[in-house]
Amino acid sequence: MATGRTVGKYTKLQIDDANSGGTLRDIPVATFAAVGLQAGDVVDLTALQDAVKGFFTGVEMYEIPITGPFDTTTKVSASTTGNAPALSGSHLVLKEINNGSSPLAFGIYIGMQGHWATNDPVFGITGTAANGCLLRDYTVDINTQMYSAIIYGFPGSAIPTWGTAQLS
């Protein structure tokens, strides 16, 4: 495992392929935005008499827009540590989980100067009956042949974290 800097081509997304009893799949992604947590409900508590502005952060949140090529490749098993991504068709996965209400496992893996391996960073959460993410707004642009969708939080779920181990 390398440490230090890396390049985007070693990033991959794995996400459950069904709203219940799903299987993790690698899907093709061209762009990720806002990978990580953000402070939600930030309130401005600045008084006129304060010397500087002051804010209080609320419950954390995440909302990760993704885009990628519209793809109908037959689904295959997700890749494991040290291996190149094994891509399943983005359309075959996303059309099944879009706008669902059951938590999904997901992981955004950042390979450090090579294919992701254990001890490289990964942001995500293991799926259980109460924990995971949801996905919404699956949209296809035929001019670019690219899809877009948004990964976001399931109510009451534990928070996704930055880890270094394969998620399930």
Partner: protein
């Protein structure tokens, strides 16, 4: 068949008319949900549940064409009606059985011509409250019969295999009848079978369509708990003096 594609392999069918030779582009094909916040004070992170879905076929941008009967201006100039729209995406070639299809019933909001350079027109659609498929919030399905002519019933073993196998959530059939001869009837339907043993049974049917009403389109919805087997195939029947029909079929599982 390729797994990725180009828009030149997409098609746009509306009310039994094939507008693909006029359409320059359409979309975006959107399947949206307005999230409803559900965050308690002590939750680790903000969470949301999906609200009511919005399914949109977006805007059709087309060449302005006044060819009698089939020109885009002739077909689309009357607004305010409910339109059955099918948008199959051919994967690396013209659409074939198994290719993805985005379809539904949409209200045509407008028809606006523009005269900057070549004369073009745009049409915007909204989801229809009169839609047959209001029970289903899933616009994506698969081509069961690509646009083409048939003159006899289908006796084939299988046509399309659902990758997820048998489902128990119903679905709906979208049919586009582009042309039929004579003054008899055409019945478009889909059969299903759990194995490739030739034991197909009828799943969903358009009923007898008067051939003289072509071009015409429709949607037939199953009950939401209906079982749909793994394999589906197109089927056709003729009545009276009608012996050939050019049509498109897709099925959208619930």
């Amino acid at each position: 068949m390729s797994n990725r594609t180009h828009k030149k392999h997409s098609r746009f069918y509306l009310g039994g008319f094939d507008l693909s030779s006029h359409a320059m582009d359409f979309g975006p094909l959107a399947w949206l949900s307005s999230p409803e916040g559900q965050t308690a004070l002590t939750d680790a992170a903000q969470g949301f549940f999906p609200g009511i879905n919005t399914i949109s076929i977006g805007t059709l941008n087309t060449i302005f064409d006044n060819t009698a009967t089939t020109g885009s201006q002739i077909v689309l100039k009357t607004i305010g009606g409910k339109r059955v729209v099918s948008a199959p995406l051919g994967m690396g070639a013209a659409p074939v059985s198994g290719d993805p299809v985005f379809a539904g019933e949409f209200e045509q909001k407008d028809f606006k011509a523009a005269m900057e350079g070549m004369v073009t027109a745009s049409v915007e659609f909204e989801p229809s409250a009169r839609a047959t498929s209001l029970l289903y919030a899933r616009p994506w399905g698969n081509v069961i019969h690509a646009k083409g002519a048939e003159t006899s019933a289908n006796t084939g073993e299988s046509d399309h295999e659902n990758e997820a196998g048998q489902t128990t959530a119903g679905g709906f059939m979208v049919w586009q009848l582009f042309s039929a001869d004579g003054t008899g009837t055409v019945t478009l339907s889909i059969d299903d079978d759990q194995a490739t043993d030739g034991a197909y049974t009828a799943l969903v049917s358009s009923g007898a369509i008067d051939a003289s009403t072509d071009p015409i389109a429709g949607i037939v919805a199953l009950g939401q708990g209906v079982t749909v087997d793994t394999f589906t195939r197109w089927q056709i029947a003729f009545g009276g003096n009608t012996t050939t029909a050019t049509f498109f079929l897709s099925f959208h599982r619930g």
